[in-house]
Each structure stands twice: as structure tokens, then as C-alpha cells.
């Protein structure tokens, strides 16, 4: 991957070609990787479910590129943030290993697919319960404040549906009280599984929630990479500068099923043709060409490079072995002396 020097300045030049290019390439990588994963899923080669970020790559990458892992920023992705994960610094092989059940993966096959993370590197390994990772990201920011670390930002991702959870509310309110440098990215993709937005919330735009928490809000067309980069750059800069939590709501459409098992027949043609139904990758590709930052040939070239890269990662992960139950410690405690001999599934047996 081209690791363009996009994170140097505090405020990246959003409309610079190299920044946009880098963002686009992460999007492309995510898309191609996920498509590969989906086809492996259909072939029965993937453990667990596959949840794609199709249509959400611009918004996802927007937040992640505004964060800087090396300075200590924290990132809490959710199920549709393959693009953001890669942009934040995840190695593709880690993703491949997790989907393909390799024991070399970051979760050692104990947990799977979208639940992967790397705590030490600032990437939160989400649990499934929606909304519950937000306060975890906040806690890291609180911890960093105790440690005297300054100018840090935490970014956290969720969908429209997750805004209905009590955990979302408690965490946002807490972050507002503590005036934490937290950027909350809500990808409003118009559906939570099959449930349309009108059955999920009743405000006009989820960004309307910001005022009720006393935090700043931003609403953006999530299909437009330029706007996403710009909005997250701004929101992140505001958070870093001490203006407290920033709620960023992206408007877009999930261009796939909830998971690969779902044909999403419930998404109407009207929505697909609607304002936010366009594919952010196509939009970005066109923008790259129109602005003269790339040519279609160059993009073709990247595409085949990326396909190659994905193929390699996938093959590598597939060749690795799965976990060996007999090598497992089967121990849930760090404190070994307090771990009981419940190994046979029954105390002391």
C-alpha cells in the first residue's frame, strides 16, 4: 500500500491529490478484499459471518485517515469498517487470518471476523453488543488524560441502528461531561439489518442529537470522499484542540445485505436510486480522473496490484493452520493461580 504522508500535518490537505489517492486506495483494498471474502464465504471457506462495508468505504476511511495511530490515537471500528481499519494501520493479513480461522490471527481464532482488534495498537476489538464499545474508547481517552498524554483523539464508528442503544446514550453523555476528544462517526446507511430508519429514530437527521449532549455535530454526504475527508479532518482537529466530542453523521446506503447471507430484498429501488445510493468508490474514481490526479490506467494498475495483494494474503492465511484445542490454555483469567481447574468442563474433574 502507498502510505502517503497524509498524517504529517495536523490538518491534512484534504484536496491534495496524494491524500485523496491514498484514501481511495484503502477503499479499493477494502472493497476488493471484502469481495474476495464474500466469495470465499459462498464457497464455505469462511468461519462465521461476513459483513461488508460496501458503499461505506469513503466515510469509514475518512475517520481513520484523520487519526494517527503513531501518536496514540485510538480507533473503535465496527462491522463495516474494513476500509477504516486498513487506513488506521491494520495489516491485511490480520483481516485475512481472522476470516479464515488461522490461529496466527490477532484473535487466535478465539474470536472472529469483525471482532478483531489490537488493544496495544489502539484498535478496539469490538464485542457484538452494539454501542458498548463507545465508552471503551472514551475510557482510553480518560486513561491517556491521566497519563498526561495530550493532543490525542479517539474515533469510534457505529451505524444508525446502534444509536438506539442505551450504551450509545450513556457513552455520548459521559464523553460530553468529560469533554473528551472523541469523534463519533455514525454511518446512517438507512437500515439496521432490515429495519428502515423510520422504525429506528424520529428526528430529521441523527446529527440533531448533538445539541442535546452539548457537543458539536457535523452531517455529511457519506458517498463523497472529498466531503468525508474534509469533515473528519475538521471534526478531528476540533476534538484535538479541546472542543470536546464531535458527532459526525454520514448519509449513505448499505450497498449489500446486512451480511452475506442476506439478499436485502427489502431495500427499495427508490432508495438505491436515491441521493445516497451511489457507490462512493465510483464517485471517488471519477473525481480522481476528473481532477487529473489519476488516470483510469493508473487506477486499473492499482486494482490489479491490490487484487494480487489480496490473493496473497488470502492464500497465506488459508495455508496456516487453525487452532489446536489441545494447545489451548482454556483459561479466562490472567491470574493463573486463581484459575480453577474447570478445564474438563466440571470443577476438579
Amino acid at each position: 500500500m502507498a502510505e502517503a504522508n497524509i498524517k504529517e500535518g495536523k490538518e491534512p490537505l484534504c484536496e491534495s491529490g496524494s491524500h485523496y489517492q491514498a484514501a481511495f486506495r484503502y477503499m479499493l483494498l477494502a472493497r476488493i478484499f471484502e469481495e474476495r471474502t464474500a466469495s470465499l464465504y459462498r464457497a464455505g471457506k469462511v468461519v462465521g459471518g461476513v459483513f461488508m462495508g460496501k458503499g461505506q468505504e469513503a466515510f469509514s476511511v475518512g475517520l481513520a485517515l484523520a487519526l494517527d495511530q503513531s501518536r496514540g490515537d485510538v480507533y473503535g471500528p465496527l462491522i463495516r469498517d474494513q476500509a477504516g481499519r486498513l487506513a488506521f494501520g491494520e495489516a491485511l493479513i490480520d483481516a485475512a487470518r481472522t476470516y479464515l480461522g488461522s490461529v496466527e490471527g490477532p484473535m487466535r481464532a478465539r474470536d472472529g471476523n469483525v471482532h478483531r482488534g489490537d488493544i496495544l495498537k489502539g484498535m478496539i476489538p469490538m464485542i457484538s453488543h452494539l454501542g458498548s464499545h463507545i465508552s471503551v474508547v472514551s475510557g482510553r481517552l480518560i486513561g491517556k488524560r491521566f497519563r498526561g498524554q495530550k493532543d490525542i483523539v479517539g474515533g469510534v464508528c457505529l451505524g444508525d441502528g446502534a444509536t438506539s442503544t442505551g450504551a450509545f446514550h450513556e457513552a455520548l453523555n459521559q464523553a460530553a461531561i468529560e469533554k473528551l476528544p472523541l469523534v463519533i462517526a455514525v454511518a446512517d446507511n438507512q437500515f439496521a439489518y432490515s429495519t428502515p430508519s423510520e422504525r429506528q429514530f424520529a428526528c430529521a437527521d441523527l446529527v440533531d442529537r448533538a445539541i442535546g449532549y452539548g457537543i458539536e455535530g457535523h452531517s455529511v454526504d457519506g458517498t463523497d470522499l472529498s466531503l468525508c475527508l474534509e469533515t473528519f479532518a475538521k471534526a478531528t482537529a476540533r476534538a484535538r484542540a479541546g472542543h470536546g466530542p464531535q458527532l459526525v453523521v454520514g448519509h449513505l446506503l448499505r450497498l449489500c445485505g446486512h451480511g452475506e447471507h442476506d439478499d436485502a430484498a427489502y431495500i427499495s429501488e427508490e432508495k438505491k436510486q436515491g441521493a445516497f445510493g451511489r457507490d462512493c468508490i465510483e464517485v471517488a474514481r471519477q473525481h480522481l480522473i476528473d481532477s487529473g490526479w489519476s488516470t483510469s490506467d493508473e487506477i486499473e494498475q492499482w486494482t490489479s496490484e491490490i487484487q494480487q495483494q489480496v490473493e496473497e494474503a488470502t492464500l497465506c492465511a488459508q495455508r496456516e493452520s487453525g487452532p489446536d484445542p489441545f494447545q489451548e490454555t482454556w483459561q479466562a483469567l490472567a491470574t493463573t493461580r486463581l484459575a480453577e481447574g474447570l478445564i474438563e468442563g466440571s470443577p476438579g474433574q
Binding site: 462465521g48 478465539r110 474470536d111 442503544t165 487452532p323 484445542p325
Partner: protein, 321 residues
């Protein structure tokens, strides 16, 4: 005709909606989509306005259901996975479960929990939470192991005037089939002898009944006759049926897919040893899942939960005593 465990659950809800207009269904994606597992397939169209999509708000789902019962409604709630019921646990255990005792007004809600492990389910889509709920006074906790029970017990759950936590096992959804739905069945509260035997008793429930049956088949080839008690309901527990079985066999193994500390196995062993100590010819044994989160990878998962092989091994130990 052949009907799956999952279809039986759909059919029970269909019948309940059809027979009693105070019944309604509320849960994420249960409406026109028919639910994450299709347990409410076609019901929204058949019963307009009575099968309702909920926001991702398990606490409010249950709280509102409790309120609706005061107007004579009998809500059936679907948690998308049992594991997510932790978000509603306060409303289930402190709001719904205490109401009758506090006020004398019954609270007939049914909370369906798609429970238990499947391949690749992982730590948060595989839990067996029956023993968490059974600890709280005021709840009835059901764990059907057969297509027939899934059907008749869900119907009964909806009819019961108390809050019922209905733990249906996802592994059985498609794996289990029956020829037809029962007209009559054992009532809630009664355990069932799933297999008669004389050398040892296995007390179990839900998906583990089938693992135990397989283990019994294996042991039958070795000349052992294993009796299997399917609890059906873990609160209340049908202690009489268990004691009668142990009286016949003199040996007890309890099997549960839940985590090992406490839970149904410990409760059953405590009852048997308190009330039927002299019936036992050997120390009681139990087999649970391991004391770690439920692993994602199938190879780990298969080792984590009890299965026919480990049940058979435990039985051999028990019989050797």
C-alpha cells in the same frame, strides 16, 4: 409433512396470534423481514400491525411489554440472540419478574432467546443464559429440546400468566425435524424421559439431550442402558421425575452447555443429593462447557462444549465407579 424446530416456533406464534388478539410480537427485524432466523416469517403480513419491528433497544422492548400487559396484552419478544438480553436483563429480572409479587398483578410476557452455540457463533452469539434467569424469583425458564416441545411449550409460555424466558436452541433450528406438530403434550413443569435405561441417569436439556442420546447409543453397544431425562423446564425443575430416575439407576450425570460454575447442573445435583442421597450408588457427576468465553473457531467450539464423546467418556467413568 416435515417440520423443523424453527418452523414449530413460527407455527406456535402463528397460532397464538390467530387465537388470541391480545398477543403481539415485538423484536428487531421480526416484521416483514420475518426475523433474523425467520421465526416470524409471514406473520407480519398475516397479522397486520401485530408483528412489530423494534429499534435496537432491548431495555425499552421489555419495559414496554411489561406496560402492555397491564392493558391485557400478552407480548412475545424476540431477542435477536440470547446474548443481547443482557441489555434487557434489568427489565426482565427487576421489572417483569418482581411485578406479581410486589403488586398482585400478573405480568404475562414471553421473551424468546435464541440460545446456545453453533459453528462460528463466537463469544457473543452462542450463550446459554437459562441459569442466569433461573436465579431470579418470578420467572419461568423453558428449554425445549424437541420440535414438539418447541411448539407446545411456546404456546403454553404465551398462555402462562407469568414472565417466561423461552430458551430456544439455535443449533436445533434446522437440524431437528418432526413429522407433525403435537395436539397434546406434557405440560410445562414436567420433565420427560427421553430414553429409558437402568444403569445411569443423564439429566440434561435443550441441544444436549441429543448429544446425550448419541452417547447413550454408543454405550448401548457396550452393553449399558442409559436413561435420559430431558428437563424441558429448568425453572421450575421437575425434581420428582429426576429422583425417580435416579432411584432406578443409582447413578447421575448432569449435562449442560452453559458455563461450569453453578447453573442447572449444580442445582440438579444439589436437589438429588439433598433429597435422594441414599439413591446414589456413585458420586454424581456433571459436564458443562469450559470456563472461558465460547470460542469462535469450530475446532475450539467443539471442544469447549460437551458433546456425545465427552458425555460417553463421563458416563464410562461414572459406570466404572
Amino acid at each position: 409433512m416435515s417440520i423443523t424446530y424453527l418452523e414449530a416456533i413460527q407455527a406456535a406464534q402463528d397460532r397464538a396470534l390467530g387465537e388470541d388478539d391480545s398477543v403481539y410480537i415485538y423484536g428487531q427485524d421480526v416484521g416483514s423481514f420475518g426475523g433474523a432466523f425467520k421465526a416470524t416469517k409471514n406473520l407480519a403480513a398475516k397479522y397486520p400491525g401485530r408483528v412489530i419491528d423494534a429499534p435496537i433497544s432491548e431495555d425499552a422492548m421489555v419495559g414496554s411489554a411489561v406496560g402492555a400487559t397491564a392493558e391485557g396484552m400478552r407480548p412475545v419478544l424476540e431477542m435477536q440472540f440470547a446474548d443481547f438480553s443482557t441489555i434487557a436483563i434489568n427489565q426482565i429480572c427487576n421489572q417483569a419478574a418482581t411485578q406479581f409479587w410486589r403488586t398482585g398483578i400478573p405480568c404475562p410476557i414471553t421473551v424468546r432467546l435464541p440460545s446456545g452455540g453453533t459453528e462460528g457463533g463466537g463469544p457473543f452469539h452462542s450463550q446459554s443464559m437459562e441459569a442466569i434467569y433461573a436465579q431470579y424469583p418470578g420467572l419461568i425458564v423453558l428449554t425445549p429440546a424437541t420440535v414438539e416441545d418447541a411448539y407446545s411449550m411456546l404456546l403454553e409460555a404465551i398462555a402462562i400468566d407469568d414472565p417466561v424466558v423461552f430458551c430456544e436452541h439455535k443449533y436445533l433450528y434446522y437440524h431437528l425435524k418432526a413429522d407433525q406438530l403435537p395436539d397434546q403434550n406434557l405440560p410445562v413443569g414436567k420433565a420427560r424421559i427421553a430414553r429409558a435405561g437402568k444403569h445411569a441417569t443423564v439429566v440434561t436439556y435443550s441441544a444436549m439431550v441429543h448429544e446425550a442420546l448419541r452417547a447413550a447409543d454408543e454405550l448401548a453397544e457396550e452393553g449399558w442402558d442409559i436413561e435420559i431425562v430431558d428437563l424441558r423446564s429448568v425453572k421450575p425443575i421437575d425434581t420428582d421425575t429426576i429422583l425417580a430416575s435416579v432411584a432406578r439407576t443409582g447413578r447421575l450425570l448432569c449435562v449442560s452447555e452453559a458455563f461450569p460454575w453453578g447453573g442447572v447442573n449444580a442445582e440438579v445435583i444439589s436437589r438429588v443429593t439433598s433429597e435422594g442421597f441414599h439413591l446414589l450408588d456413585a458420586p454424581p457427576k456433571r459436564l458443562n462447557a469450559k470456563d472461558t468465553p465460547i470460542p469462535f473457531h469450530p475446532d475450539l467450539w467443539k471442544t469447549h462444549r460437551p458433546a456425545s464423546q465427552s458425555i460417553a467418556a463421563s458416563l464410562r467413568d461414572l459406570l466404572r465407579y
